[in-house]
C-alpha cells in the first residue's frame, strides 16, 4: 500500500506531469499519422529518454503507448486508414459514419470507449501484476526458461501471417541476441572483430530499423495511395441512448482486451479484432456492422486500449512482453537498468506503481486531448509523406547513433530496416524478430543456469510441474491448431464417406 502512494507521489512532480502531458500530445500525434504507430513511436523516442531518470523515461514511453493506441482511431474514422494496426477494425464502421456526416459522433464514441477500456485495464493491471509477480517469485531458472519458451511460442500467432514464418523470425531474433561476449564463458561470438559488437547488438538500432526504416520503404511502395480527409465540425460525446446501446459492448471488449493483452506477445491488434467480432456476434443488429455501427467502434476501441494495460502485466511481472510495443518498453526498462520480473514489486515497487499511475493519468489526459484536440489532430493526417518519412529517417538515424554514439549502430539500423522490409514483403512479421532479440539473452541465460542446476540433465525440467505446464501450453500453442484441423478434417471426411 505504501508503494501505491509512493508511486503516486512520484508523479506529482510538476516536471513529470508536464512531460506526461507533452508525451500525450506526442503520442496522439504519432497515432494520428498514418504509417506511424505506437511501437514505431516508442522505438523512435527511446533514445530521447536515455539521459533521463528511469521514472520520467518510462512514464514517457508508456504515455506514448497509450495515447498512440487511442489516436489510431482518428485516421481510421476520418481518412479510412488506421493510424495503428489496432484500429483497423475501427475503419469498418468509423469511416461509413464519417461519410454520412457523423464523424464527430464516431470520434466521441472512440474517445469514451478508449478511455473506459484503458482505465479499467490499468486497474486490472494494478491488481493482477503484483499477484502474478507473487506467483513468479517462486520460479527457479528452469521455470523461467519454460516460461520464456512459452512466451516465444506465442509469437506464432502474431498477426495474420504464417506461424512458421513468425517462429522463424523469432528464432532469428534469438540468434541475433547471441552476438557478443557469452556472459557464462566470456567467449566472443559473431563479433567479426568489431569491438562495438562485444556487448551485443543493441536493441534500439534494431527496433528503429525494423519498425521505422522498414516502414519508410513500405511507404515508398504505396506512394500512389491518395488520402482524402472527411471534414469534421466538432467531436460529439455519446448521447444517453448511445451509452444504453453500447455499454455492454464496451465492458465485454474491455474484458477481452485486458485478457488478450495479458497473454504474452499478443497485443492490441488481436484484441481489437476479437472485440469487434464479439460485438458483432452479440449485437441485436449485426447487419449494421460494416455500414456504420456505433457498437463496432466501441467494441474495437475499448478492446485495443484495454490491451495496452493488460500487456504491461506480463511485461512488468514476468519480464515477458505482452505486446510488440511492450517489448520496446521492456528494452527501455533494461537500458535504464530496471530488471522487470517479480523482484520489481519488492525491490522497486514505487517505480512499478509510478508506471501504473502514469497509465491511469494518460487515459484521463487523452480523453480531454481527444475531446478538445481531435479536430486539430485530424489536420496532421494529411501531412505529405514526402516530408514525414524523410524526417522520420533523420530521427531514426540520429536516435540509433545517440545511444552508444557509434556509427556501427547507424549501419545496424539501416541494415535492420532493409532486412525488415524484405521480411515484411515475404510475409515475415518483424515483431517476433524484435521480441526474440529481447528475450534471446534471457532464454540462453536461464537455460545455462538450468543446466548447471540440473547437473546437465535437461530432461529433468519435464519433471517439474510448472515447467511441464508451460511446455504443454507451448505444445498446445504450436501444434493445437494444426492437430485440431487434422482431427476435424478427418471426422468430416469420415462423415461424408459414411453418407
Amino acid at each position: 500500500m505504501a508503494a501505491l502512494f509512493a508511486g503516486f507521489s512520484a508523479l506529482l512532480d510538476p516536471e513529470i506531469l508536464l512531460l506526461v502531458f507533452a508525451a500525450t500530445l506526442g503520442g496522439v500525434l504519432v497515432g494520428a499519422l498514418p504509417g506511424l504507430n505506437a511501437t514505431t513511436g516508442v522505438a523512435l523516442l527511446l533514445p530521447f529518454t536515455i539521459t533521463m531518470e528511469p521514472v520520467p523515461a518510462i512514464a514517457i514511453l508508456t504515455t506514448i503507448y497509450c495515447a498512440a493506441t487511442f489516436a489510431g482511431a482518428i485516421t481510421a474514422i476520418l481518412i479510412n486508414t488506421p493510424g495503428t494496426s489496432a484500429s483497423a477494425t475501427t475503419c469498418l464502421d468509423g469511416y461509413p459514419m464519417a461519410q454520412r456526416g457523423e464523424a464527430g459522433r464516431a470520434l466521441g464514441m472512440a474517445t469514451v470507449s478508449s478511455t473506459i477500456g484503458g482505465v479499467v485495464s490499468v486497474v486490472a493491471l494494478m491488481a493482477a501484476a503484483p499477484l502474478l509477480a507473487g506467483i513468479a517469485y517462486k520460479f527457479a531458472p528452469p521455470e523461467y526458461f519454460a516460461l520464456t519458451i512459452f512466451g516465444l511460442s506465442m509469437l506464432a500467432s502474431i498477426g495474420d501471417g504464417s506461424p512458421t514464418k513468425n517462429v522463424l523470425a523469432g528464432a532469428f531474433g534469438v540468434l541475433l541476441a547471441t552476438v557478443g561476449i557469452d556472459l557464462l564463458t566470456t567467449v566472443e561470438r559473431f563479433t567479426f572483430g568489431f569491438n562495438e559488437l562485444t556487448e551485443g547488438i543493441g536493441f534500439v538500432p534494431v527496433m528503429i530499423g525494423v519498425f521505422g526504416i522498414s516502414e519508410l520503404l513500405v511507404q515508398a511502395s504505396n506512394l500512389r495511395t491518395k488520402r482524402e480527409r472527411i471534414a469534421m465540425k466538432a467531436i460529439k460525446l455519446p448521447s444517453s441512448d448511445d451509452y444504453r446501446k453500447t455499454w455492454k459492448t464496451i465492458l465485454r471488449s474491455t474484458g477481452i482486451g485486458t485478457f488478450v493483452g495479458i497473454l504474452p506477445a499478443e497485443g492490441a491488434t488481436v484484441a481489437s479484432m476479437i472485440g469487434y467480432n464479439e460485438a458483432k456476434r452479440w449485437s441485436k443488429t449485426p447487419e449494421e456492422f460494416g455500414k456504420g455501427a456505433l457498437e463496432g467502434i466501441a467494441g474495437s476501441e475499448a478492446a485495443n486500449n484495454s490491451a495496452a494495460g493488460g500487456a504491461m502485466v506480463p511485461t512488468l511481472a514476468l519480464g515477458i512482453p505482452g505486446s510488440p510495443t511492450a517489448a520496446v518498453i521492456l528494452a527501455g526498462l533494461m537500458i535504464h537498468g530496471v530488471q522487470p520480473g517479480p523482484t520489481m514489486f519488492t525491490d522497486q515497487a514505487d517505480f512499478a506503481f509510478a508506471i501504473f499511475w502514469t497509465m491511469l493519468l494518460v487515459n484521463g489526459m487523452f480523453f480531454f486531448v481527444g475531446l478538445f484536440g481531435a479536430k486539430l489532430f485530424a489536420r496532421v493526417t494529411l501531412v505529405p509523406v514526402t516530408i514525414l518519412w524523410p524526417s522520420v529517417f533523420t530521427f531514426s538515424i540520429v536516435g540509433a547513433y545517440s545511444l552508444d554514439q557509434s556509427m556501427l549502430d547507424v549501419w545496424i539500423a539501416v541494415g535492420s530496416g532493409v532486412i525488415g522490409f524484405f521480411m515484411r514483403r515475404y510475409g515475415f512479421s518483424v515483431v517476433p524478430l524484435a521480441i526474440g532479440l529481447i528475450l534471446g539473452g534471457m532464454l540462453e541465460k536461464r537455460l545455462g543456469q538450468s543446466m548447471v542446476m540440473l547437473d546437465e540433465q535437461w530432461w529433468l525440467m519435464f519433471g517439474r510441474p510448472i515447467c511441464l505446464v508451460f511446455f504443454l501450453l507451448t505444445a498446445l500453442v504450436l501444434f493445437g491448431k494444426p492437430l485440431w484441423g487434422l482431427l476435424f478434417s478427418q471426422r468430416s471426411s469420415e462423415k461424408s464417406t459414411g453418407e
Binding site: T164, L168, P390, T394, Q405
Partner: protein
C-alpha cells in the same frame, strides 16, 4: 501470360526464400564451429556454440518446412521508386562517412524529390530544417557528440 508470371514468381518465392535462409543458417553454423571451446570446469552447462547451434538448427528445420509444407503467395512486383530508395540508403551510408548530417540532408532532399515532391519549402524542410533541428536538439539538450565531418566541424570548431 500474367497468370504464368505470377506462378513463376510464387515458385521463386517458395524456393528462393527458404534457400536463402538455409544458406544463411549454413554460414552461421560454420561460424559457430570457429568459436573457442572452454574446458568442462568452465563451461557451466553449455559450450558457447551450443545455444546458437540449437537456434540455427531450428531455423534450418523451419526453412525446410516453409519450402515443402507452408507455401506462400507471391508478392506484387515492387515499383522502381523502392529500389531507388534502397540505393539511396546505400548512398547515405557512404556519404555518412564524410559527414552524418550532410548525408541526412542530401538523403532527405533526394528522397523527397524522387517521391515526386518538387516544392522548394518541402525540400528545405527535409534537407535543412529537420536535420539542423535534430542536431541542435541532441547536441544541446542531450549532450550527444556527433562524429566530426565537413559540416559538424563548422559547429565544433
Amino acid at each position: 501470360m500474367r497468370g504464368r508470371e505470377t506462378a513463376v514468381r510464387r515458385a521463386a518465392v517458395n524456393w528462393i526464400v527458404p534457400l536463402c535462409i538455409i544458406v544463411f543458417c549454413a554460414c552461421a553454423y560454420f561460424l559457430t564451429t570457429e568459436f573457442d571451446r572452454v574446458p568442462p570446469i568452465l563451461k557451466r552447462g553449455m559450450q558457447p556454440a551450443d545455444f546458437p547451434q540449437l537456434v540455427i538448427m531450428l531455423m534450418g528445420f523451419l526453412a525446410l518446412w516453409l519450402a515443402f509444407v507452408d507455401k506462400s503467395t507471391a508478392p506484387t512486383p515492387l515499383p522502381p521508386v523502392v529500389y531507388v530508395s534502397l540505393g539511396m540508403m546505400a548512398g547515405f551510408l557512404g556519404l555518412a562517412q564524410v559527414d552524418l548530417f550532410l548525408a541526412l540532408g542530401v538523403f532527405g532532399f533526394c528522397l523527397t524529390l524522387i517521391w515526386g515532391d518538387r516544392r522548394w519549402w518541402a525540400l528545405a524542410i527535409v534537407a535543412v530544417v529537420v536535420p539542423f533541428g535534430v542536431f541542435l536538439l541532441f547536441d544541446q539538450a542531450f549532450d550527444i557528440r556527433f562524429p566530426r565531418g565537413l559540416l559538424t566541424n563548422l559547429w565544433y570548431g
